[in-house]
Symmetry: C2
Subunit: 362 residues, 2 copies
């Protein structure tokens, strides 16, 4: 088992990474203030792992309530969130009851937001079961639901008490979801960790083959990167925004195509190539850089062109993004491979050219 | 104009109290980080005051969006909250746009919760227009919506940037709502400010007659009390719970009768008498104390008996309250007039007797 700490003063918490951790409920016990917990999961993950976790907790005297939600980004909405509240109230959960999110990014985002709001805040634990949630969304305290007009538009910063990443759950992860997670892994290399990017260029096939050592290394290294950024800027007033490479473009794809059509990491990969194209236009990357990034994403089985949406619609959707300020789009671009900046001085014309160069009919 | 500060370190903010402040939009300008604001109000208050505030802001170059909600506690729900999000997204509000809640406690609670969640937090200003919101709910950062199974069950601690209490808005307040506000005013006297209670005993009729000086004094003194408690315990881990005198009983009345049937202050007044009855049973108050409190509430035109709900149902509803811990009810009781404590050692039998002694058929 590997571990690291997200340093946030009073709100610091550990991330535990290892195989079979779900079968060690004693790891969670010190983080439960009362002998009651609610596990929030979905219809895909619950049949695989919920029983194991619930039984282990019950064997330790914990009363466990279960809230099993429909699976998929299209359910990350107010209505499904309310299902969690119904379960919490219906089972007399108190504000000292702990909410455990068992699943991927959608479950973590929605469970975390429910925990942030229920009785104005209850203890919260992340048990991510997908690569994407283990390397990114379970760490750092961003929680949210989607609105029809924009992704993650309603949410809270709310830190978990502990993150328990059981890498053996990746054995049941569909290939497409594994690749989706790799988009966020590659992101860390691109924005701030060139040695890690080089390691990925040597090991991406091992990751796709689910080599346990390679996965454990990539997850730990990703979490180290994320934890450093979050510790420096919890509320995203500065550096944390760099973690959104490809996300403003990507959110437009997810919202525009209908939530759930594209996986988050797929949209981020295509969005990253749009950000790369714009960085190329600005002269910050050369053609070799562009091909290098494209090649790695392709090897990770990720899309390198966006969804077939009109360019005007891309721009309209992007203007709903959280990173808009006084009407100006603030985009994360690359100043070189391994180095990112936030830039708000791209013209609409430049952004259009970048998007168009990465559309499937281009 | 009177002013005071809620001392919360980086999140400290001023409360301005005075007549005609709504016509001085320049008071708000320093608290708007961008030249865009959304005013959230309701169908009762908007026709009276929204134009005045919006025009004043627009005259100062602020773009103003309006979100007018249906009036009443029965609308303090997820569906109405979503109306605010629809307006925010539909009008491209950014996370630096300021949300201004113009109305009573329901608008402040719901507007504040929307501000806490929209893009994970946007700047927020309280402009309370009822006595209850000016003396209590607009100060301290508690925001929430109701759930069918419990009042204020979903919410956030989220502090405003400034509270602007224009006392001239009380001239249009219905008598019943004025009395409702007095329940929270009297509460401060009962739990921690005996001299204020004595002042109220001399001046309650002046307040009902809307004497401006009396109202201004009562509002300021209430806010001073609230600000002190909130500064000492923002997240209600200790002393702040004392502000909930009568509220666990009162919330049961509001939820049990259907939101909007009883005004919040009416339910708090009846609930206070139940807490007083329980304190009497424990021997902490004598009969003279009970009559003294009863007499003051009656003079304030407030109910001193609860809603006709079965006692079992009261207990069931109270067990959904946020102050339940490991299944035990934690109730605010009086150790004497002017002094409150949190007590969790009342038996169900004792609580039953206290409730029954304060039911209309008792």
């Amino acid at each position: 088992m590997q571990s690291l700490t997200v340093q946030l003063g009073e709100r610091s918490y550990p991330i535990l990474i290892g195989s079979g951790l779900l079968r060690q409920p004693e790891l969670l016990l010190p983080y439960l203030p009362r002998k009651k917990a609610v596990i929030v999961s979905n219809t895909t993950i619950a049949p695989l792992y919920l029983d194991c976790l619930a039984k282990g907790l019950r064997a330790n005297g914990i009363e466990v309530v279960e809230s099993v939600l429909p699976d998929g980004e299209q359910h990350k909405d107010l209505q499904t969130l309310n299902q969690i509240f119904d379960t919490l109230l219906g089972n007399r959960c108190e504000r000292s009851t702990t909410l455990i999110a068992l699943g991927g990014g959608v479950i973590g985002d929605m469970g975390g937001f429910a925990a942030a709001c229920y009785q104005r805040g209850m203890p919260f634990i992340q048990v991510p079961t997908t690569l994407l949630s283990q390397v990114d969304s379970s760490v750092g305290g961003k929680t949210a639901i989607n609105h029809p007009l924009g992704k993650n538009m309603v949410g809270a910063f709310y830190q978990p008490k502990i993150v328990l990443a059981d890498t053996s759950t990746l054995n049941t992860l569909p290939d497409r979801e594994l690749s989706s997670g790799l988009a966020e892994v590659i992101k860390y290399g691109l924005i701030r960790d060139l040695p890690f990017l080089e390691w990925l260029e040597h090991n991406v096939e091992s990751l796709l083959e689910r080599n346990p050592e390679a996965l454990a290394f990539a997850i730990h290294r990703s979490c180290v990167n994320k934890a450093e950024v979050v510790a420096a800027d919890e509320r995203e007033t500065g550096e944390r925004a760099l973690l959104n490479l490809g996300h403003t473009f990507g959110h437009a794809i997810e919202t525009g195509m209908g939530y759930g059509e594209w996986l988050h990491g797929e949209a981020v990969a295509a969005g990253t190539m749009m950000a790369v194209a714009l960085s190329r236009l600005k002269g910050w990357l050369d053609d070799a850089d562009v091909h290098r990034i494209e090649h790695l994403l392709l090897r990770a089985k990720l899309p390198i062109t966006g969804a077939p949406i009109a360019v005007d619609r891309y721009l309209e959707l992007m203007r709903h993004d959280k990173k808009v300020e006084d009407g100006r789009l603030r985009l994360v671009l690359l100043k070189g491979v391994g180095s990112a900046i936030v830039s708000d001085d791209s013209s609409d014309a430049q952004i259009r050219v970048a998007i168009e160069s990465r559309l499937p009919n281009a």
